[in-house]
């Protein structure tokens, strides 16, 4: 068997954890028995951290302290326009962080997006540990293929904060293809993966041969997903309401959360029904007319009409990637649909239309990604594995050059790991430092690309201009993460490089957050005896309950109210201890309750009179 390793699909709406168990990839159900864990984190009013279904269930009543879709904020810069466009849609408060990144305000605390994601990951880790009955630390986490370097780093940071050793970040569509190809990878075949999840869209073309999975081309849109479909429905509900009553429901956090739930539910139902009723009573109120209700019926046709441009955007990406990979639809052996949003009939129809074939039904759109991640983990750690994944970098990497232009150094769709050099020459006499701006993207104008960081080459040798050549080496790891190093060509001395502009957390912040998370986990770990004591206490509660009618009669017949009141007080203390998992306190409560129970039973048997 070998070392335990889990695969995690850290989704925008739901997350899944899986492992390879007895040679078979399997989803690990969470401790409540479900295979999907909502990627929702909330801070309850009593300050307790809630994750998953619990957090999701209380979202309506606690919208401002419930974080949903945090994946859309991972690795984003505060100053970016896309970020500013996303923020007004969120029910919780997002503020600027210290490195042009984001912080989410929950109560009096602020958390970075990786910290929130780490809470979800911690939950999944605990689920896995409960499944194996032993600690798990090694994990493969997936991210959208189109994620850039900052987003990948943020994902990796989240894993580290959750105390996981993230052995690899892999791309979701590739991961889904691994799950598809598991056990049938020997045949030579070309497949396309159409992955429309909650927040991102990816399209990837792969070739498989004798257990090797080669990604040929990948493309996507990191701000296009199921949430956008929901938002269209929300607007469709809210705009006429506003016109009629002058109230924008989207500004009311609680109403927005109800709209969001209703929109998602309607969307899902319209995958199998032709029309659904949306009914939101008491959604708002005015002084004049009292409570207001919202009731509308939505047809599948209407939904398709208002999301047509979103679907078109997906199809455009597909065509572009197929061109890049120089593949014709007819050459494809299979088209896989991944992500919950691909259940929409309109999308399946379009896919059928442009690829001229029925999409494969061999993968579960919700689980394939996590299963593939588990397979990759086992491929890396276990020798017997005969499979290999050759993935590519989704964006071109380059530097800013004079005039505001972008020079490509590593082209997109290059197989990773890879590296490339670029020689910089000093332009001034005795120049001691040089700045390198590293970007990712396809535009020839550097500003239109994503800034990864600015690096300062410092302590350059003193020489006339042109006398110092610095060879800067750009590496892209198998995770798709970029690192930069530099060497003085003439002397062979390694140059020091300092990162002067980078978003995301510093090493120190990550470690601090990881420690805080560990403390929280220790706090969660319950006393091994607690379960037994809880069972015992619950038995006692039942016995008291059964006995209570007799006791009230005995009280009236001379036992008096005192013993009953004392019992009631002891019972409520014990109930609280069960709820708060106070194992030690519960043990003494049990003793006391047992003694009371004995005495009271004795009193009843004796007829009436109580012990004095």
């Amino acid at each position: 068997m070998g070392e335990l390793v889990i695969g995690i699909d850290l989704g925008t709406t739901n997350s899944v954890v899986a492992t390879v168990h007895g040679g078979q990839p399997t989803v690990i159900p969470n401790r409540s028995g479900y295979r999907l864990t909502p990627s929702v984190v909330a801070m309850a009013r009593n300050g307790k951290r809630l994750v998953g279904a619990l957090a999701r269930r209380q979202a309506v009543t606690n919208a401002e302290r419930t974080v949903v879709a945090v994946k859309r904020l991972m690795g984003r810069r505060w100053s970016a326009k896309t970020t500013q466009d996303t923020l007004p849609r969120l029910p919780y408060t997002v503020v600027a962080g210290p490195h042009d990144d984001l912080r989410i305000a929950l109560g009096d605390q602020q958390y970075s997006p990786p910290e929130i994601s780490a809470m979800v990951l911690t939950e999944l880790r605990l689920d896995a540990e409960a499944f194996f009955g032993e600690p798990v630390s090694k994990a493969v986490i997936t991210c959208p293929a189109y994620f850039n370097d900052s987003q990948r780093n943020a994902t990796k940071d989240a894993g580290r904060i959750a105390g996981l050793d993230v052995i690899r970040i892999i791309n979701e569509p590739t991961s889904a293809a691994l799950a598809y190809g598991f056990g049938r990878a020997q045949a030579e075949k070309q497949v396309a993966v159409f992955d429309l999840g909650g927040g991102t869209f990816d399209f990837t073309v792969l070739h498989m041969f004798k257990g090797v999975f080669e990604v040929e081309a990948t493309g996507g849109d990191s701000l296009l997903g199921g949430e956008d479909f929901d938002n269209r429905i929300i607007d469709w509900l809210a705009v006429p309401f506003q016109e009629k009553h002058g109230i924008d429901l989207r500004k009311d956090k609680m109403a927005l959360q109800r709209l969001r739930d209703a929109a998602e539910k309607a969307k899902c139902e319209l995958s199998s029904l032709k029309t659904v009723e949306i009914n939101l009573p008491f959604i708002s109120a005015t002084q004049a007319s009292g409570p207001l209700h919202l009731q509308m019926s939505l047809t599948r046709e209407k939904l398709e009409e208002m999301t047509k441009d979103l679907v078109d955007r997906c199809m455009k990406v597909c065509e572009q990637v197929m061109n890049e990979a120089k593949v014709h639809a007819a050459q494809l052996g299979d088209v896989l649909l991944v992500g919950g949003q691909t259940r929409m009939p309109r999308i399946q129809e379009q896919v059928r239309h442009i690829f001229g074939r029925e999409p494969s039904k061999n993968v579960n759109p919700d689980e394939a990604v996590a299963l593939g991640a588990a397979i990759q983990g086992s491929m890396l750690l276990h020798e017997e594995s005969e499979m290999l994944l050759l993935d590519v970098t989704p964006h071109s990497l380059g530097i800013a050059i004079a005039g505001g232009f972008f020079q490509k150094i590593i082209a997109k769709n290059t197989t990773v790991p890879t590296s490339a050099h670029h020689v910089f020459t000093t332009v001034k006499d005795d120049q001691t430092s040089a700045k390198i701006t590293v970007l990712q993207g396809e535009s020839e104008i550097s500003l239109d690309n994503e800034l990864l960081g600015e690096f300062m080459l410092t302590g350059l040798r003193s020489a006339p201009r042109g006398g110092v050549d610095i060879d800067v080496i750009f590496d892209i790891s198998a995770d798709g993460i970029v690192s930069v190093s530099a060497v003085d060509v003439q002397t062979g001395v390694r140059q020091s490089i300092t990162v002067t502009a980078s978003s995301g957390l510093t090493e120190e912040e990550i470690q601090k957050a990881a420690l805080a998370n560990e403390d929280w986990m220790l706090g969660q770990k319950e006393d091994p005896d607690f379960q037994d004591r809880k069972t015992k206490a619950e038995e006692l509660f039942k016995e008291f309950e059964a006995l209570w009618p007799k006791l009230t009669r005995a009280a009236a017949n001379g036992l008096g109210q005192d013993p009953l009141q004392r019992a009631q007080a002891a019972l409520s203390v014990a109930r609280l201890q069960v709820a708060q998992k106070e194992s030690e306190g519960l043990a003494s409560s049990i003793d006391r309750l047992e003694r009371m129970l004995g005495a009271l039973k004795g009193a009843i048997e004796r007829g009436l009179g109580g012990p004095q």
Binding site: H207, K210, L381, L388, G403, T414, L447, A478
Partner: protein
Amino acid sequence: MQRELRDLEERGNTLTYYELLGITADADGAEIRRAYLTKSKRFHPDAWYGKELGTYGPVLGKWFQRLAGAYQVLSDDESRAAYDKDHVGKLSEKERSAVEQRELSRVEEERRARERRERLMHTKGFARLGAARRLYEEAIAHAEKGERVQAISAIKAARELDPNRKEIQAKLAELEKEQARARAQSALASAREREDAGRWHEAMAAYSGAFQLDGHLYSAALGAARCALEDNDPRNASTWAAKAVELSADDPAPKLILAKAFTAMNMKARARSELATLLNKNPDHKEAKALLKAL
């Protein structure tokens, strides 16, 4: 594996891409791919994940990358043809004839395409002009849908077929100008964003990029000047402010920046003369007055 790597280190640099992948030059596309994938199974660093590789680690990484590079070149017909041409001396007799065969059919294919085009070019009269007309209409349709890139490529093709038609030339010029303007506007927007965030240096670079794309963008020149000044770069500030003054002689803003930049570079006389011309036109400009007084 170690022996294989040592061997590669010794003579790998003399191997052709074909030899590196373990195939002959008459291999077809599918064979090349299979060879690469099979080799990857041994050379990709993941195949040795978690193993103690010592000094072999970087060597392995290097040769995997060479393999991937070789595959990349050979998997594309055009780059493969160029590679074959450069390495013809290293190929065996049999391989050479295969390469020649392939090159012949590729050249043949290209020749046919060219001929088709030329035939069209030399067809006097309607066929050719009709084709140009169709392309022109296609371009207009693209332009209307806002697909500027496609529109430009269509209209360039139309110009090739019918170089004398004024209509086509005018449309092309118009589209190219529009494209530059749009790019300049997007650069300008990013520059403003950065300026608002107080990232002066980046903002200045963005403004100057916008100006290079559209030399009439007064706001770009002025923005670059403003940001350069904030970035403590009076030399650039003065250059940009001077450009802005050229574009709009009446606006006091660039003159004020110019004066400030000159002051920062300790060129007081020039600063004074800038302020004087400014006040000449705008006698009530308070900031300029104060600055002049201070000088």
